[in-house]
């Protein structure tokens, strides 16, 4: 893409996690105070979408790091501090998004969310906010020394997570990469099998089964998604230059954003939820289901073609 590069994309998107979390935490607390179930669902949906959006923010951030860390006018220490704080924020954001999704699923399954998920989300969201705000602030200091009280002092990340440590674990132990690849393929099968079947129900397959029954399988698809997010991040952090300059990886992430949004769509939309045995989904829902299947196939295609269409592994 000649008109925009990944560091630019990072600058465009990097406020989403911070501002988004502030808004979502506000909505969530407001919903609890007003005991408003609809508002609470809206907050949970925002948490999930923010978590999804945080993935490209993190990935483009690493691309920006590789791009500028060798320049004399930027502090490498500030970049490292920003990366480490951002990594912890990313992990907390993903956990918040995951538990939010689980809470929405529980609401479908049991008619209400379990108490622990509400407390857990509140705790995780506040922790996320406490980490993402300083992470963003340190990020700003990389290119804006004018915002620092002392331009020579680099704010330490102050977190126990370190991208360098993750990279070290993955690259120095020869069994980690193959083990993670194996888990990535097992996760792929679980994820694809479940999501393919549920979307197929909307397209007219398994018509004798109600949508609500099919939906009970979705956490297993989410389990596959979780396995693949974790193992995929291990690959990315260990060898980011293999991915940031790799066009198929960009396509994979675009497909992943669409496919990830499908996990939310399948859980929160009432119209598909009401499909009883024999019912046919509306044309729009069919179109969404078909798009989701194409997106998952795209994720697999671009992922598997990474070494062949992009730079060699």
């Amino acid at each position: 893409m000649p008109f925009i590069n990944l560091p630019h994309l990072h600058l465009l998107m990097n406020h989403v996690p911070t501002v988004g979390t502030v808004v979502a935490v506000g909505l969530f607390i407001l919903a609890l105070a007003r005991r408003n179930e609809h508002l609470k669902h809206a907050a949970l949906e925002v948490f999930f979408l923010i978590a999804l959006a945080t993935l490209p923010v993190y990935l483009t951030g690493v691309a920006a790091q590789l791009e500028i860390q060798g320049r004399p006018d930027v502090s490498k220490a500030a970049i490292t501090a920003h990366h480490d704080a951002a990594l912890l924020a990313f992990i907390l954001m993903m956990l918040t998004g995951f538990v939010s999704w689980l809470s929405l699923w529980q609401f479908r399954r049991h008619g209400r969310s379990a108490g622990w998920t509400t407390g857990g989300i509140l705790l995780l969201a506040v922790l996320t906010l406490a980490v993402v705000a300083p992470a963003a602030s340190i990020g700003g200091e990389i290119r804006h020394p004018e915002i620092m009280p002392d331009p020579n002092a680099v704010a330490p990340a102050g977190v126990w997570v370190s991208a360098a440590a993750v990279q070290d674990i993955v690259t120095t132990r020869p069994w980690v990469w193959p083990a993670a690849e194996t888990l990535h393929f097992i996760g792929l099968s679980l994820l694809f099998g479940i999501l393919f079947a549920i979307n197929l129900r909307l397209l007219g397959g398994f018509r004798a089964i109600s949508y609500a029954s099919m939906h009970r399988m979705l956490p297993w698809g989410m389990l596959g998604f979780g396995i693949n997010l974790i193992t995929g991040m291990l690959f990315f952090i260990a060898a980011p230059e293999q991915y940031t300059a790799n066009a198929p990886f960009l396509w994979k992430i675009i497909c992943l954003m669409i496919a990830g949004a499908d996990l939310l769509y399948l859980t929160v939309f009432d119209k598909i939820w009401a499909l009883e045995p024999g019912d046919d989904a509306a044309v729009l829902d069919k179109a969404i289901a078909a798009t989701a299947i194409v997106a998952w196939v795209g994720v697999i295609y671009w992922g598997r073609m990474l070494p062949f269409l992009g730079n060699a592994f």
Partner: protein, 158 residues
Amino acid sequence: MIDFLTWLEGTSFSIWVREAPTIWAFSTILTLHTFGMGVLVGASALLDLRLLGVGRTMPIGPLQSLYRIMWSGFWLNLVTGSMLFAADATSRGTQWLFFVKMLFVIIGVVTMVLIRRRVFGGPAEPTVVSSAVRGLAVVSLVAWVAAITAGRLLAYVN
């Protein structure tokens, strides 16, 4: 045996799969193989999980159509897998890990057929799941995980 493997690897088709400077040879065949794996193992895992009690409100009868999906994945992978084997016949055909993978694929497919006979073989709509079928479902899941593990590790042992 090694003569056959050497001949197979030397056929113009094998050379094309292995060496053709196009994305449509080795890489596309490998990607289709991965896709077939997701289809076969994913559909099989869905049925196994239901038989083990996940999503009990889901009637089992209509899940019989999963077999069409599973067989599609199976045939796709038999074809693409044979092509990939032909391309590297002398190394794959002499690796014990490759035969471990084949063993687990065979166990997985045989288990799939046994589950079909036991669950969908009768005239009545299947409702209760016997402990024998639950056992088969566990064997199926273990076999697929083992087959994927062996297959994936083939890329790292040489």
